[in-house]
């Protein structure tokens, strides 16, 4: 059974100019222990999806329709208190900026201990020992001494490791990570990703990894969903989406990533820009920029269709369209 099921999720923002649809009929599953990457460019809705799942949508944003189920139970319509229990115990979160995630006024030890005693049936003494264990696990040197340090006494990469420890220490089943390594240098990024991956495997924690960096996804994820204008364009095993993307947008996206292993005279580019949420075209949201557009694309919005090894929301893969 899936650990997390998102069904037809629709997130809206009422504004004075009308209702903005930030997520439009988004559906996907995450199996236990699986890492799902969610990629997209700015404004595609990937962070919004993560926020909706954790229950941290900024008002006036709200879930207009659809369901989010954790282990078969709905969590999108829970009252604040119940959601708060689930956050931390069942779902952990890692955000981009460790400086704002960690409370600068408390030592990291206290934050770890507090999290564990809140969510696990253990006392402060045991929690402290576990906290030291976690710090060692995430690679903080001299953990026993440093557990009583404050966040500002650590460097950026170390802080993010502490944040990861914080997210994992209550032993959640799912972690939602929003751009966890974007603010870090490349060499630190590599260390942190490797650690995240190992820990997730060892503890059997599922992860939803939201990022715009395809390289991180390629290294870490099992499956990936490509988002565009609040919808999922393509979803499938990471190898397939990266190497043999089916959806024209995914193809364009993968193509425009500058290759490290050779120099090209001209990078593949997609003309135009992602539409603003106030001006999403009718039919397929990508149709104005798509090199393979035809009539149906402009009129009808495609669902996720079977495109061989992935699923793509593209009329090229409709039954009988003769495309594989």
């Amino acid at each position: 059974m899936s650990l997390l099921q998102v069904k037809n999720l629709r997130v809206e923002f009422p504004t004075r100019r009308g209702t903005l649809v930030a997520l439009d009929d988004v559906s996907f599953d995450i199996a236990p222990g699986e890492v799902l990457g969610v990629v997209g460019e700015s404004g595609a809705g990937k962070s919004m999806t993560g926020a909706a799942i954790i229950g941290l949508l900024e008002p006036p944003g709200r879930i207009a329709s659809g369901q989010i189920l954790l282990e078969g139970r709905r969590i999108d319509n829970l009252p604040y208190e119940q959601m708060r229990q689930i956050r931390g115990r069942q779902i952990g979160a890692i955000f981009q900026d460790p400086l704002t995630t960690l409370n600068p006024l408390y030592t990291i030890g206290r934050q770890l201990v507090e999290t564990m005693t809140t969510h696990l049936p253990i006392g402060p003494g045991e929690a402290r020992e576990k906290a030291i264990g976690w710090l060692e696990l995430v690679g903080i040197p001299a953990a026993r001494e440093r557990i009583d340090s404050y966040p500002h006494e650590f460097s950026g990469g170390m802080r993010q490791r502490v944040v990861i420890a914080l997210a994992l220490c209550a032993e959640p089943k799912l972690i939602v990570a929003d751009e966890p390594t974007t603010a870090l240098d490349v060499s630190i990024q590599a260390q942190v990703i490797a650690m995240l991956k190992t820990l997730a495997r060892e503890k059997g924690t599922a992860m939803m990894l939201v990022t715009h960096d395809m390289g991180v996804i390629a290294e870490t994820a099992d499956r990936v969903a490509v988002m565009y204008a609040g919808r999922i364009g393509e979803i499938g095993p990471v190898r397939e989406v990266v190497r043999h993307a089916r959806h024209p947008y995914s193809q364009g996206l993968m193509g425009s990533i500058p290759p490290l292993d050779r120099r090209v005279e001209r990078l593949q580019q997609i003309d135009g820009a992602m539409p603003r949420l106030t001006a999403i075209p009718q039919g397929c949201a990508y149709n104005p920029r798509c090199p393979e557009v035809f009539e149906r694309c402009r009129v009808e919005r495609p669902e996720l269709l079977d495109a061989g090894t992935t699923r793509a929301a593209c009329w090229l893969y409709a039954e009988g369209a003769g495309h594989v």
Binding site: V186, P258, L267, Q269
Partner: protein, 348 residues
């Protein structure tokens, strides 16, 4: 090769304007910042002064019409170099030569100043939000007195906007009406309006989405070919740098550790830090290579390690590395500052 409307010929050229004078030459350039605590606090806690050595002895040349890229992680000083090279900061030591003339002299001369321009990283902060696009792009034209007729200026701005892929009508709008990629195009149009020959690009695509980045990089390459521009390109992204550079300099804690032609750097990186950087980049092609991420973190530039600043993280460090600062020496088509390379200990 050059195709720059409005450029005037042979006016007030500096002394050595030979075709092979480098466009830009940095000679043992250093920039230190005093980050000491306020005087009273220092007296009370008996601390000495603290100096941040953002750039500490950099030397490189950029030949005309080529692109030199500087790569490095945060804190390596590459942004400081960008600002030193256009005169936004003065040098603590060493000098910068612009087309054979000392930079401070060049900056004092309006004609020389118009030949150098800069593009910045943040598309949201690089355009004055209260100005219309046409005024933003026309500002260099007006500041350097290149044209005075209002209609001529408007026409020229329209041409520039078209050149960067926007519409001349966009001149009437305000920056907030444009996306990040479009704003970066406006920045490029502004930089081109004084008919420069040398452009410093400080992480121009780092804040952009990957598909927009591709558009901007293609645009910049095209402009370089068409207008004969020389670029100093600053970035932290090696893959991007590979696509645009003729030569690449790798920086670490304010110093150059390796300087080589682009293809040499990628086919045969010499310095351990360069190799570590290459290893650290996430593998899109998933060739399944085993990655050994470099350990440790970048030390603070206020109190760098003695000797070679990379030694605490270097797998090849020996006693000499801990004591003696390496200098740039030729090694297989590149310039490398590494004892291990010099001693032949660094095999690929």
């Amino acid at each position: 090769m050059s195709d720059r409307p409005g450029a005037s010929e042979g006016v007030n050229q500096p002394r050595c304007h030979a075709a092979d004078t480098p466009m830009l030459s940095a000679q043992d350039v250093a920039r230190h910042f005093d980050v000491s605590k306020p005087l009273i606090q220092r007296i009370v806690s008996r601390e000495g002064k603290r100096t941040l050595r953002a750039v500490d002895g950099l030397s490189f040349d950029i030949a005309k019409g080529t692109t030199l890229s500087l790569v490095g992680e945060s804190g390596c000083g590459k942004s400081t170099v960008a600002r030193l090279v256009v005169g936004l900061y003065g040098t603590t030591r060493g000098r910068v030569m612009f087309d054979g003339q000392d930079l401070s002299l060049a900056r004092a001369d309006s004609k020389q100043r118009s030949r150098m321009q800069m593009i910045f990283q943040d598309p949201y902060a690089s355009l004055n939000p209260r100005w219309r696009v046409v005024d933003i792009v026309a500002e260099p034209i007006r500041a350097f007195g290149l044209m005075s007729d209002r209609q001529a200026i408007l026409t020229r701005v329209g041409e520039l906007l078209s050149q960067v892929g926007l519409s001349p009508l966009d001149g009437q709008k305000y920056p907030h009406e444009f996306s990040g990629g479009q704003r970066q195009r406006i920045s490029i149009a502004r930089a081109l309006s004084s008919n420069p020959e040398f452009l410093v690009c400080d992480e121009p695509t780092s804040a952009l989405d990957v598909s927009v980045q591709a558009q901007i990089l293609n645009l910049m390459k095209e402009l370089q070919t068409r207008l004969g521009l020389t670029y100093l390109f600053i970035s932290h992204n090696l893959a991007v740098v590979r696509q645009v550079s003729d030569r690449i300099g790798v920086m670490y804690l304010g110093k150059l550790v390796e300087l080589s032609p682009a293809e040499t750097l990628f086919s045969a990186p010499s310095h351990p830090y360069t190799r570590a950087l290459m290893e650290a980049i996430p593998d899109l092609e998933m060739t399944g290579r085993q990655r050994i991420p470099v350990g440790g973190e970048v030390p603070s530039p206020i109190s760098p390690p003695p000797g070679c600043t990379f030694h605490p993280r270097c797998p090849l460090a020996n006693a000499r590395c801990k004591a003696e600062v390496p200098v740039m020496k030729p090694a297989g088509g590149a310039m490398v500052a590494c004892h291990a390379v010099e001693e032949g200990r660094a095999t690929l």
